[in-house]
């Protein structure tokens, strides 16, 4: 068990609980916040658990680019773009 994995898991748990809690709250920028939390979790899994931090920059750009594209289109589709 590595320290990095333990810290990543802890952060992922906190982000999941925050996403669950804020989803029922009526706060401004709720949808962008939820999407941001999801992106942070996906980056935690890919870069830490899947070790993509060790990969060629091509793969890192591809992952981050995918997330930006997905969130961007989602916000446009919801009329927030």
């Amino acid at each position: 068990m590595t320290k990095r994995n333990i810290i990543t898991w802890g952060v992922l748990m906190i982000l999941t609980v925050i996403a669950g809690l804020v989803s029922s709250a009526s706060i401004p920028f709720l949808i962008p916040i939820i999407l941001l939390l999801a992106c942070l979790k996906i980056m935690g899994v890919t870069f830490s658990f899947m070790e993509m931090r060790k990969a060629n920059p091509f793969w890192k750009v591809l992952i981050v680019g995918y997330l930006i594209l997905f969130c961007g289109i989602t916000l446009i589709a919801l009329g927030m773009g």
Partner: protein, 209 residues
């Protein structure tokens, strides 16, 4: 002529060699393997497009999609996220322990990985049963059509992932069987892909519509 000694295959030697050989900075050797990452890219694109199509349908009838979304259980969805992420945590530790030539710890972590994956499926079955009982099936409306199609397709990925992890477990248990780290990492990447798909589905289907 000296006596020839037969060298028994050792998974640990094999793992050690594999670790030294893989150069992750090479664009063709991402952790988990190029083929797996091509599959991951394809899967994330497919699920991503399906979710975006769902959002454009929601734009046509926002009230229906919002009211339907409110009938989903966010608590179950959140617990399912915790279960899958915890399973992924143990999977990452399984890979780490195998690299350290520690088979018994790796086996324990892999069993925990599979246990949390199974718990995810159990909770999913409970959620599906409640939906069917409430009459919220695939042809109820467009929202539930997308809900059933996307979440069930993800469940199939989790089941396939568990079958793949069973073969890894079988390999770890057979002490005299050579075990290639490349295969373990590929299996781990597939399992983590199930996390990634869920992390896309959960906010869109359960939280934001």
């Amino acid at each position: 002529m000296g006596e020839r000694r037969e060298i028994k295959p050792s998974c640990f030697d094999e793992i050690g060699r594999m670790n030294q050989q893989i150069e992750y900075k090479n664009v063709f050797y991402p952790p988990g393997g190029l083929l797996l990452w091509m599959i991951i890219a394809l899967e994330l694109t497919t699920f991503g497009i399906a979710l975006l199509v769902m959002l454009f349908f929601a734009k046509e009838d926002p009230v229906l999609f919002h009211e339907s979304r409110l009938q989903l259980n966010v608590t179950i969805g959140t617990i399912n996220t915790v279960l899958l992420l915890t399973s992924g945590f143990f999977m990452a530790n399984t890979v780490h322990e195998l690299r350290q030539n520690n088979r018994s710890k790796a086996q324990r972590y892999l069993l925990l990985t599979m246990l949390f994956g199974l718990l995810f499926l159990v909770l999913k079955v409970i959620e599906y049963a409640a939906k069917i009982e409430a009459g919220l099936v695939m042809d109820t409306n467009d929202f539930f059509g997308f809900y059933w199609m996307l979440t069930f397709f993800h469940v199939i990925h989790v089941i396939v992932g568990l079958v793949i992890l069973s073969t890894v477990l079988w390999g770890i248990r057979k002490a005299n069987q050579p075990l290639k780290m490349e295969h373990v990492e590929g299996s781990a990447a597939f399992w983590h892909m199930c996390d990634l798909i869920w992390l896309l589905l959960f906010p869109v289907i359960y939280l934001i519509l």
